[in-house]
Point group: C2
Chain length 230, copies 2
DNA sequence: CGCGGCATTGACTCATTTCAAAGGTGGTGG
DNA sequence: CCACCACCTTTGAAATGAGTCAATGCCGCG
């Protein structure tokens, strides 16, 4: 992790362009066309209704969310380092994409050349279908999480989902998002998220070193129903 | 709507093959490769873990669902007449697709020729990306529904979603699914679904001619929060 | 040093689950 | 053709889980 405040922006751009060239990703043939932008926490990466380029998240995390008529926010998808977005062009997009982490670095590829490339290079097209397929499967997993009954269940399966996505060994996680974001992701209140985590901790299912650092102790307990919370 | 019991199966197959040739759909160039099968209510169209062909739902409705460890079922997606499924090959698929309506008629296309066609014909590839994109957007809409707080809100937006999908004018719906399926789709109990519908009816938001026939009277009331239910 | 956002916990209200029962419907088989 | 049966639907009553309001402590940042 780099402290961006200490470094001029040009340095960052160069650093991330080099990083981009080293990380394997489906659009690497077009990296010379990519423009790299850094976003601070809370900044809009893509506004609602704005026609979007294809994007690759080099570093950081972002949320795809919509605001409901009653003012509540629903996070529809969580984008982590290495994820692509903007691939499926639902014009106009009815949701907003914002940076969650302190700094989210995005490589964006102009739409035109990629669409053309996709028509001529079956390998690229296949790779992008894989990305879309992965996004679809991620949506289905989120639906499974949201469909659970108790809040402890939801938080438990959220932790398992995060563990599968952000860690190598799958037992220690550093959450990229706040309790508020977890709440908006799971469709429950912030207090309920906090209580569910405390409950899981007390039961010995997880270990909370600090609010953002979670270790999974008993996987099974996270999958269980988790009643008698309070 | 046709009464199948009165007709021999061969007639049905011929009828649906003709219907298939007349309805515009992305795979029509390969209709001679398609095999048409009819499924009774509750029958598995695609088992969990089974490698799947690409399918087009000629008639009827189906559900994509998974069974949780606690025995509860979550419906991940609702497939209606004219929908495609099995496009994104997440092998092995972790969910089951079953017929909901009395008779669901499916045209299934072998995977190999289609994958080849997709690499050579950009128009087909584009069409299929559109289908996948639509599925993705449907998943996001379902997440928005599931993320709502009160059950009445969920049922209300479910009705609006159904109205947008199954009707032309958008005000009268014939539900293709039972209360149990709605409950498993929304992640609430059957009784709560029934109560929410009664509540919406009493408030004058909808009109229930019979359990499956809903007319939308006040759209706004369906989007509202809908507290004080009981 | 103070401020604002984040996190945790308590108390209270109430919506939803759960358990229970009754009426309705359509399909199947006699 | 009719009756039975399984499933669907609705409503009631009780228990409990989650939302809401409120207060406190924590941490990082300016």
């Amino acid at each position: 992790v780099i402290n961006f405040k200490r470094r001029p922006r040009t340095y960052c751009a160069a650093y991330y362009r080099e990083l981009l060239s080293k990380v394997p990703h489906p659009l690497e043939n077009l990296d010379n066309l990519a423009s790299i932008t850094s976003f601070r926490r809370g900044q809009e990466i893509r506004e609602r209704g704005q026609a979007a380029d294809w994007c690759f998240l080099i570093s950081g995390a972002a949320r795809r969310s919509t605001i409901r008529s009653d003012g509540r926010r629903q996070i529809v998808d969580l984008l982590l380092t290495g994820d692509c977005f903007g691939i499926t062009s639902s014009d106009p997009p009815e949701d907003t994409i914002e940076a969650i982490s302190q700094d989210a670095v995005v490589a964006s590829y102009p739409r035109q050349p990629i669409e053309e490339l996709m028509d001529t290079d079956p390998r690229i097209a296949h790779e992008l279908r894989k990305i879309t397929s992965e996004a679809l499967s991620r949506m289905r997993r989120q639906i499974l999480i949201l469909g659970r009954i108790t809040a402890t269940e939801k938080v438990g399966s959220f932790i398992l989902e995060m563990a599968a996505r952000v860690t190598k060994d799958g037992n220690a996680i550093i959450l990229p998002i706040s309790r508020y974001d977890i709440a908006d992701y799971l469709g429950v209140s912030v207090e309920t998220v906090s209580r569910a985590l405390s409950d899981l901790k007390q039961r010995g299912a997880i270990c909370l070193r600090d609010p953002r650092t979670i270790s999974i102790v008993h996987r099974r307990a996270l999958e269980e129903r988790g009643r008698n919370l309070g």
